[in-house]
Amino acid sequence: MPDRKRILKILLLHATLLPTLLFAFYVFSLAPKSWEGVDEAVVEKIAKEHGREASDPLIDPGSGDLLLFGFLLAGSAGGFAAGYYWRQLTRKD
């Protein structure tokens, strides 16, 4: 019966997808909470072993909301530019 097959397919899809999603969230919860970037975990760590340490950037926005605001602006401007140029590219004329 086609209906029965369809229901079976949907059940199979759920039986596959739901455990996969749960597993994905579980794996994320196992990882270190700080989610270090590879610059800290690799570059700066190995550089420090060889006597080189990172210095403050020229324009130092610190680690607070100012830098968050900078990323907000950067994300907004980049996303807007990408959308704007994509629209220009896919315009019919």
């Binding site: 994905a24 794996v27 994320f28 196992l30 990882a31 270190p32 700080s34 989610w35 270090e36 970037g37 590879v38 610059d39 800290e40 975990a41 690799v42 570059v43 700066e44 760590k45 190995i46 550089a47 060889h50 006597g51 080189r52 340490e53 990172a54 210095s55 403050d56 950037p57 020229l58 324009i59 130092d60 926005p61 680690s63 607070g64 909301d65 830098l67 968050l68 900078g70 990323f71 907000l72 950067a74 994300g75 907004s76 401007a77 980049g78 996303g79 807007f80 530019a81 990408a82 959308g83 704007y84 140029y85 994509w86 629209r87 220009q88 590219l89 896919t90 315009r91 019919k92 004329d93």
Partner: protein, 280 residues
């Protein structure tokens, strides 16, 4: 450099739907959608969770090596500006494509993606797809501008290491991606498979170059190759899966552009006349 950043880290800007000539409302709708996409990108970048930048940070490389990588980069930048001017003279319609790729490379290269198997974050480069679509030279320029803005305003990388970071991501990443794409196409690879390989090798090439640049800069009297191997092995758990992700992104972008604007791909010699869809 510590900064607050997104945990989800997925800031792909959904493009607005295309609007036809004279479709004023549709165009305004497109702009609204573009604005919405940008806000979504911004908000996704900014769910506050501690994370870190990924390029070689300010001050890590000695001054002499910083200057060396600037000098090594200069000829590529000079050729890139010439190539971009030539492209703009030949065909004005390439400008939106360059603008789109610049935005994509900028967003993608400051977007940390968590890798659960490694417990760290890193980012794709985007230079592979840029090299396929506008050529490796223009891709170098795009990477340089993106990294300059990030170094100046986002504490991402640094001005003293800008030459080194641009050399690895712009020059090596672009060339690796472009060569991989051309080789795969010559061997009969489809657009998607070739795009995937280009993204994969651009990412891995970038981090191999970063490893070499870092090892050369910090080794002092230590032997080079053991240190290089150590850095590469430390990058592997994060960059192996991210390279695959970058391959998928590159393949997706190339095939999407093939569906929407195959004529552009033909002009950039990404596809041949025979591969043009019949309705193009």
């Amino acid at each position: 450099m510590r900064w607050k950043h997104s945990k989800g880290c997925n800031a792909a800007a959904a493009p607005p739907s295309p609007c036809g000539r004279g479709a004023g409302d549709g165009c305004r709708g497109g702009l609204v959608k573009a604005g919405g996409a940008s806000l979504a990108a911004g908000s996704l970048l900014l769910v506050a969770t501690p994370a870190f930048a990924m390029h070689i940070s300010e001050g890590i490389l000695p001054f002499s090596w910083g200057v060396f990588w600037y000098l090594a980069l200069l000829p590529f930048l000079f050729l890139a500006i010439r190539r971009l001017n030539a492209m703009a003279r030949e065909d004005l319609s390439m400008k939106p494509l360059v603008g789109l790729l610049a935005a994509v490379v900028f967003i993608v290269s400051c977007m940390p993606i968590p890798v659960p198997t490694a417990g760290t974050c890193s980012h794709p480069c985007g230079t592979g797809v840029a090299a396929i679509l506008v050529g490796p030279l223009v891709s170098v320029l795009i990477a340089a501008v993106s990294l300059l803005i990030q170094a100046l305003f986002l504490a991402h990388g640094g001005l003293s290491t800008l030459g080194a970071n641009t050399f690895s991501m712009g020059v090596v990443g672009s060339l690796a991606g472009w060569l991989a794409f051309r080789a795969a196409r010559r061997m009969g690879g489809s657009l998607a498979v070739s795009g995937f390989l280009a993204g994969l090798l651009a990412d891995w090439g970038t981090y191999a170059a970063t490893s070499l640049i870092l090892s050369l800069g910090i080794r002092g009297d230590a032997p080079l190759w053991p240190l290089f191997t150590k850095v590469v092995l430390a990058f592997l758990p994060t960059q192996l899966p991210l390279g695959i992700l970058e391959g998928v992104l590159s393949a997706g972008m190339v095939t999407l552009l093939y569906r929407k604007r195959p004529d552009l791909l033909l002009r950039m010699r990404v596809i041949t006349d025979k591969e043009l869809p019949s309705n193009a």
